[in-house]
């Protein structure tokens, strides 16, 4: 899958592919040209990715080749033990929860689950959780609290599932309760937006002591398409809406909504999933160490202040 903004890169890639065929047939000139083009591709990729528009980043954040939580869980963790079920209604495959360990650091890993292919995506409901997913997540958090483990949440969802049954079983209640209980959870929480941070469905597991975003991840109150169709009355204005919504990691760091950005490999997480996994692993280790070093009461105070202070622009009133 190639993006519009990658068309130049795509051209170079195609040329390389053609030359590789020639090179295999013994064309030495082709080999030299390939090396040159590869350097160019790297430079161009870096250039393109350093100047992505917000709408470009929306595309990158949604790229099907981005690492999913399963890839993180198994790629970065030395051990992972999945736990199932909300203990009231069901087990939501769209929310992955389990005990995780990286080297000697143990934590509870919780996150939205997208698939790597169509079959998986259908199974995981494209990462859109039902109420039982949010309730399973909360159960896992309380378990972590009891066992003395910090919590790491990984956010990657277009939103909570807008289904009839989801409404009947209290999608709104489940998310609201998570927001309230996470605020008071007596164990550290690190939240990382790895891909799409879509609205309440994202926030439902994102009330962390720290919120990080992958460089090309997005976090938004509404999808750019939804926003465009409401405020522009024109769904094709999504690029404008994406810019207006300030949904990129850099925007949100500037707004002090998030606490840090995890850089992506050049060309985006999808171009080097393993490199991305390593970067996230490192980020988890260093941030967990930091947030686990304060006392419980100071942690809870700081968490409260963090959220209490978002949206107090006394000096910037209209």
């Amino acid at each position: 899958m190639a993006f519009e903004f990658e068309s130049d890169l795509e051209n170079i890639r195609e040329t390389i592919a053609v030359l590789e065929q020639k090179s295999m047939k013994g064309d030495a000139a082709a080999s030299a040209r390939i090396a040159e083009l590869r350097r160019k591709l790297a430079t161009e990729t870096a250039r393109v990715y350093s100047s992505l528009t917000p709408w470009d980043r929306v595309q990158v954040a949604r790229h099907p080749g981005r690492p999913t939580i399963d890839r993180y869980a198994h790629g970065m963790c030395d051990d992972f033990v999945e736990i199932h079920g909300d203990r009231v209604y069901g087990d939501d495959p769209a929310m992955l929860c389990g005990f995780a360990r990286i080297a000697k650091t143990k934590f509870m890993l919780i996150g939205h689950r997208k698939g790597d292919n169509t079959e998986e995506n259908i199974k995981y409901n494209f990462g859109m959780a039902n109420p039982e997913g949010y309730r399973k997540a909360m159960r896992a958090m309380h378990l972590a609290e009891k066992w003395g483990l910090p919590v790491v949440t990984m956010i990657d969802t277009a939103g909570a599932f807008p289904g009839m049954e989801a409404e009947a079983r209290g999608q709104a209640e489940a998310i609201g309760r998570n927001l309230m209980e996470m605020a008071a959870l007596e164990t550290p929480i690190l939240s990382i937006v790895t891909g799409e941070g879509g609205s309440g469905g994202a926030l439902g597991i994102a009330v962390g002591d720290r919120i990080l975003m992958l460089e090309n991840a997005i976090f938004s109150v509404i999808s750019p398409e939804g926003c465009a169709s409401i405020l522009w009355r024109d769904g094709t204005k999504a690029p404008e809406a994406a810019a207006a919504l300030k949904l990129t990691s850099h925007d949100l760091l500037g707004l002090k909504i998030i606490d840090g950005i995890i850089p992506e490999p050049i060309g985006g997480a999808h171009s080097d999933p393993d490199g991305m996994v390593v970067a996230v692993r490192q980020a988890i280790l260093s941030h967990l160490q930091a947030i686990c070093s304060v006392s419980k009461s100071r942690m809870l105070d700081a968490r409260y202040k963090k959220y209490a202070s978002i949206g107090r622009f006394v000096q910037e009133r209209i």
């Binding site: 289904g163 209290g170 609201g176 927001l179 009330v207 405020l231 409260y304």
Partner: protein, 276 residues
């Protein structure tokens, strides 16, 4: 049932502007009667929307309401601009048109002997949307309740988060719920009154997690919009879907109370709080 006429003839004999048409059943009701009946249709019991002043007058003893945080007005963290122009201007116009500073009014007031803290949303203010000012006012109100050990009553009426303030607005869901977790820890009652409509980010934050959730009859309560759901599941939804009655049957609303009985109900309910 003298409030509404039985024949078209007699109705047409009177000047148009003395009639209120019920939005639900289309019956014509004399405006005086409509107001006296608290904007509730005497024929079909449709509960029409109240603005925040009407709601406060309905619930709080006259002369006892003291408003908080009127200095908090909308902010524009994103410098948001859409097809119709800057959000800042739209917000400013709304403030001056409605004479209220944000989509919620907060304060303390009495019901009989009990002083409580109340926050009332107003759907006229940009669809009652939850924005930074809204969240901040609600948070401050809850903190006031904690400081003075009062019950907190939230009257919701909202289409959800205000997208013009982006994630700042989304985060108000977390902010208000964090304040509620403190109220919870302090052992203070939290009554959530859901009025038409209570949807989106407001339903998915403070509105559904009351100690007791009360709703007016017929109130629309839901997370996702009806159309979005129908497009997703590709089937028609039941007629009563996302009504207060549906929510009660599904375990999320404690009690459906007619507007005329709401104050007495609330007063009685709060009398169960044991002074510790």
């Amino acid at each position: 049932m003298g409030w509404f006429t039985k024949s078209d003839e007699s109705r047409h004999a009177l000047p148009e502007d003395i009639w209120q048409v019920c939005p639900a059943c289309k019956v014509h009701v004399l405006k005086d009667e409509w107001a006296r009946n608290l904007k509730v249709c005497p024929k079909c019991n449709h509960h029409d929307r109240l603005d925040c002043r009407e709601r406060i007058n309905l619930l709080i003893d006259a002369g006892t309401f003291r408003e908080f945080g009127q200095e908090i007005v909308p902010s524009d963290p994103l410098n948001f601009q859409d097809a119709k122009g800057p959000y800042a201007e739209k917000a400013k116009a709304t403030v001056s048109k409605l004479g209220m500073s944000e989509s919620v009014v907060t304060g303390s007031g009495n019901i009989g002997q009990v002083r409580l803290v109340i926050a009332v949303m107003d759907f006229r203010f940009l669809g009652g949307s939850l924005a930074s000012g809204t969240g901040e006012k609600i948070r401050l109100a809850i903190e006031h309740a904690i400081r003075f050990r009062r019950a907190f009553v939230m009257v919701s009426a909202s289409g959800g988060a205000r997208m013009h303030e982006g994630v700042v607005s989304l985060m108000q869901m977390a902010k208000t719920c964090a304040a509620l977790s403190k109220l919870q820890k302090a052992g203070l009652p939290y009554i959530s009154i859901l009025t038409d409509p209570t949807t989106g980010g407001v339903s998915a934050s403070f509105a559904m997690i009351g100690d007791v959730n009360i709703a007016e009859p017929g109130t629309l309560i839901g997370f996702a919009g009806r159309r979005v759901i129908e497009q997703t599941i590709k089937q028609k939804l039941p007629k009563d879907f996302q009504t207060a009655e549906y929510l009660e049957a599904h375990g999320f609303v404690d009690h459906i109370v007619n507007r005329s009985e709401m104050k007495a109900f609330l007063s009685n309910l709060l009398s169960y709080r044991q002074s510790k």
